[in-house]
C-alpha cells in the first residue's frame, strides 16, 4: 500500500511485523502456559497437539518471543523514558478512563500510560525469561537446586499472570481508542487522530515546535 501523504507515518513495516510476531508468539505462549497453570485450562493443550507437544513447544516459542521482544525493547526504550509531563498525564488518568481527555497533558508519540505499560512489560518479560530458563526441564533445570526451581516456578506463574492482564489491557486500549490499531496494521494514522491523542507528537511530525 502506498503511503497516503495526508497521513502520518507511525510505525515502519519492520516495526509492525516485529510487533505482530511478538503478539502471535505471546498469544501462543499464554494459551499453552495457561494449560499447565490450572486444570480448567488444560484442554487448551489440544491446540498444540496434546500435553506433551505443548510442553515441548512452549519454551521454544518463548525463545522466539524473547528475541522479538528484545528488538522492541531496543527500538522503543528511548521513546519510553518517563518525563514530568508523562507523570502529570498519569496523575490525570482517572479522567482519561472516564472518557474525558480534554484536560489531559499533551502526550508525545507515547503517552504516560503507554510508557508505564512498556516498562511493566519489560519487567515481566525479564522475569519470565530468567525463570523460564530455570524451569526448562529438558535442558536447564538440572543445573539449579530445588529451592531455586520452586521460586522460579512461582515467579514464572506470577509474572505470566501479570503480563497476560497487561496485554488484555493493551488490546482493550487499542480497541477502545478508535483508529489507533491503524498505526500498527497499516503504519499510518490520520492527522486528526494524532492531534486528538498524541498532540505533542502531531506537532513534531508536522514540523512544528516540540
Amino acid at each position: 500500500m502506498k503511503n497516503d501523504p495526508q497521513k502520518l507515518i507511525r510505525y515502519t513495516p519492520f516495526e509492525r511485523a516485529n510487533h505482530w510476531l511478538a503478539a502471535i508468539t505471546f498469544i501462543l505462549l499464554a494459551l499453552s502456559g495457561l494449560a499447565f497453570f490450572h486444570p480448567a485450562f488444560y484442554p487448551l493443550n489440544q491446540l498444540f497437539g496434546g500435553g506433551v507437544w505443548t510442553r515441548i513447544l512452549h519454551p521454544f516459542v518463548g525463545v522466539l518471543m524473547a528475541l522479538s521482544f528484545g528488538v522492541m525493547f531496543s527500538n522503543y526504550r528511548k521513546l519510553n523514558v518517563m518525563t514530568p509531563a508523562d507523570k502529570e498525564w498519569l496523575s490525570h488518568v482517572r479522567e482519561m478512563v472516564d472518557g474525558d481527555d480534554r484536560n489531559m497533558p499533551e502526550a508525545g508519540k507515547f503517552n504516560g500510560g503507554q510508557k508505564l505499560l512498556f516498562w511493566l512489560l519489560v519487567i515481566c518479560m525479564a522475569l519470565l525469561i530468567l525463570s523460564g530458563i530455570v524451569i526448562w526441564r529438558a535442558y536447564f533445570a538440572f543445573l539449579f537446586p530445588a529451592a531455586v526451581i520452586r521460586l522460579a516456578s512461582v515467579v514464572h506463574a506470577v509474572a505470566a499472570t501479570i503480563m497476560i492482564a497487561l496485554i488484555i489491557f493493551h488490546i482493550y486500549a487499542g480497541f477502545w481508542t478508535k483508529e489507533s490499531i491503524d498505526g500498527m496494521l497499516y503504519g499510518q494514522v490520520r492527522r486528526a487522530w494524532a492531534k486528538q491523542h498524541h498532540p505533542a507528537w502531531f506537532r513534531q511530525m508536522m514540523g512544528g515546535d516540540k
Binding site: 488444560y42 506433551v52 526441564r137 488484555i168 477502545w176 492527522r191
Partner: protein, 294 residues
Amino acid sequence: MALQSLDITRRSATTTPSPSQRKTQEVAKLIDISKCIGCKACQVACMEWNDTRDAVGSNHGVYDNPMDLTENSWTVMRYAEVELEQGKLEWLIRKDGCMHCTEPGCLKACPAPGAVVQYSNGIVDFHEENCIGCGYCITGCPFNIPRLSKKDSKVYKCTLCSDRVAVGQEPACAKTCPTGAIVFGIKEAMLHHAEGRVADLKNRGFAKAGIYDPQGVGGTHVIYVLPHADRPEIYCGLPRNPSIGPMVELWKGAAKPLASFGLAMVVAASFFHYVTKGPSEVSPEIEKEFEDEK
C-alpha cells in the same frame, strides 16, 4: 505404573472428587534401619520385578551403586559413615525411594490430569501414559525422588509394587529382604510393629530411637525405624521436617484461583468499561480541522 484395579482417591490436576465410596485400609512399608545389612537384595528385586535395568556404572570408592536414584533404579541403598561420639563409628544404611506421602508434593505440582494418582490404600503412583514430561513433580517432591527419563521424557519412581499389592502380595523388596528389615502390611500394624522395634532399640542403648512417619506431609506410607530418630539428616540427608513447602503451596494453591479470577476481572472490566463509557474517538472539533482528510 498405575494399576486400575486399585481404587484411586486422588488424581493430579483434577478439581472434582474421584470415586471414593469404597474404603480400603492404608498400607505401609516399614524399613527398619537397625536390621538392614546393606546387601542390596531389595535393589535387585526391584529391578527384577519391574523389568528395569540400569547402566553398569563405575566404582566411586563407596558402596553406593548406583550413586543416586535413576529412572531405572527406583530404590537405592545409601551408605553413611558417621561418628556420633568420638571413636564410635556407625555405618548407617538407608534404603531410599518414594515415601508415598499422604499429602504428595508431586501430585500437587503435576499439571497433567491423572498423571499422578493416589490409591485409597495410600500408594502414590505415576501414570506415565498421562505424563507430559514437564518435571513439575520433581519440583514438588520434598524428598527428591522422581527421575525424568532421557529416553522417553516420562518420570519414574517406586510404585510400592502397586501391581503386586493389588493382588494381595507384598512389594518385591519386602519379599526378598533376608533380614526382615523391610516389612509390609496395614499401616496401623506396621506402626505397632515399629513401636516394638523402637522399644527394643531403646533397651539396647539407642535412647533416641524412633519412628519416621513425618507429619509435615500428612504421614507417609513408607516409614522408617531410626536408631537416631532425633537426627534424621545423618541418614544420608533424610529431611527432618519435610513438607510441600511455601513456594509450591503458593504456586499450586492460592495462585491458581487468584490469577484465574484476576484475569477474568480484567476482561470483564474492559468489556463493561466499553459498554458504559463508550469508545475514545477524535472529537468533532478536531475532525472539522481536518475535513480535507476524509
